[in-house]
Symmetry: C2
């Protein structure tokens, strides 16, 4: 599954569209955010995607967890939001 | 249901403890955050609470949504994280 990477500068409506597309296709989506600004955009995107998916009769839920990721040879702690059908 | 209010200065481990306690007692918890720093702490708290609750055999999921709240006579947009059993 491809990871949807979100930054503090990401437009949350665009991220919501990406989550919705992946959910419709695969039934689950993984969103990765590093830092408070990115996590905020990611959560807002999930809230919007949930509304979109409800119109398709999909009850989407979110499971947040910590994940270590390696960026430019540096280990960073990311928040991953796993979006799934309830 | 009492709302667990989270600020950017909240310790996420303490918030996780509060979520875990409410989940054990009531079976669902509502977490409110305004602003990126607060949302970040809230999401981290849910991730930790989920780990605690898994040890009790509870599969906790999270549903983020927007909610208008009134603070000091000003309308603010908050993010609410509804934590429920799957």
């Amino acid at each position: 599954m491809e990871v949807i990477k979100v930054s503090a500068k990401s437009r949350f409506t665009s991220v919501a569209g990406a989550i919705t597309g992946v959910m419709r296709e695969v039934g689950r989506a993984e969103v990765q955010a590093i830092g408070a600004g990115a996590v905020n955009q990611a959560v807002k995107a999930v809230a919007i995607a949930r509304n979109y998916l409800q119109q398709d009769g999909i009850d989407a839920i979110c499971i947040p967890h910590f994940a270590e990721v390696c960026i430019d040879n540096q280990e960073r702690t990311s928040i991953k939001l796993l979006v799934e059908k309830r």
